[in-house]
Point group: C2
Amino acid sequence: MREGILFIVSGPSGGGKTSLVKEALKTFKNLSFSVSVTTRKPREGEVDGKDYAFVSEAEFREMIKKGKFAEYASVHGHLYGTPLEELENARKSGVDMILDIDIQGARQIKEKYGAGVFCFVLPSSFGILKERLIERGSEKSGDLEKRLSEAKREMEEINNYDYIIINDSFNEAFDCLSAVIKSARCEYSRAAERIGKDYFA
Amino acid sequence: MREGILFIVSGPSGGGKTSLVKEALKTFKNLSFSVSVTTRKPREGEVDGKDYAFVSEAEFREMIKKGKFAEYASVHGHLYGTPLEELENARKSGVDMILDIDIQGARQIKEKYGAGVFCFVLPSSFGILKERLIERGSEKSGDLEKRLSEAKREMEEINNYDYIIINDSFNEAFDCLSAVIKSARCEYSRAAERIGKDYFA
């Protein structure tokens, strides 16, 4: 059995990574979503261990100390993290995993975990990115400026990624992400074992 | 403008590479087929410069001397070759090219030309490969034995390839080849220029 592949889908807010990852999870077999650990309170309908693993801040800090996270970050005063153990279990059991994660998180995964197929999702122009953030409406004008300047800074990390997915049209972008997932599955290093020494038997 | 990508589709005879390449040429825009040079006579309906470039043996030998080929081989007493210049022109003009080529040819391209996305196409078992060669009917029994032993020897080259495409079902195999073509087009090195310094302009 081959090892599971880790797909990291990242990029600036407003780039559309979350919708792409949701669609991938609906479309592909043998593709799982990593359940993040968080210190924020569950929202209505959220199930512990399914949507998130909800823990106290003390528990989270303890996990950091013990090196339990492949990445973690503080967002709007709450802590969020991806447990290393979950990635490892998926890899060993041959399950492919996909992470929808911000750029700082992706950088940590690259540094601490190493393995993975890194995809950077963004629209073809900064103007479109700005429009998307405005359309969301959830952004107050101060937040918008902050997110845009964050996005500019974060763009410098694009050269650490394996793939760039231009998301102007959802369908075209999803077609790219699908191609990345499918081609990764037939890369030599992963597919070669299907052509083992017993090929001629 | 990005450079053209060279896709090399190879594998043992009977693996089904030719049908996959034909379908890719029908399906993808900006994907061309390299016109081979050959010393064999044109068959009915074949157009010089379109199906093949037909040359004399003396002309072909002259081209070899001048280093004009990315690869060439003698097949059933005729010479066939892929002109280096055609690959270079496609690369420089941003046209992706796909080659349907035997394993020896692919090895020469890898050695002499270097660049390229190398795909090895084969069925999931040697039994299926044998059946396919028998079904073709065109193989005399001596030829069959020869091709099978050739295939066994050639299999050792599989670890020089980037992708392995298991061709038990045409649709599944074509889905893989399509994914390889699409994902290669959104690899960082090729897509990054679309996100140039004028991104924030």
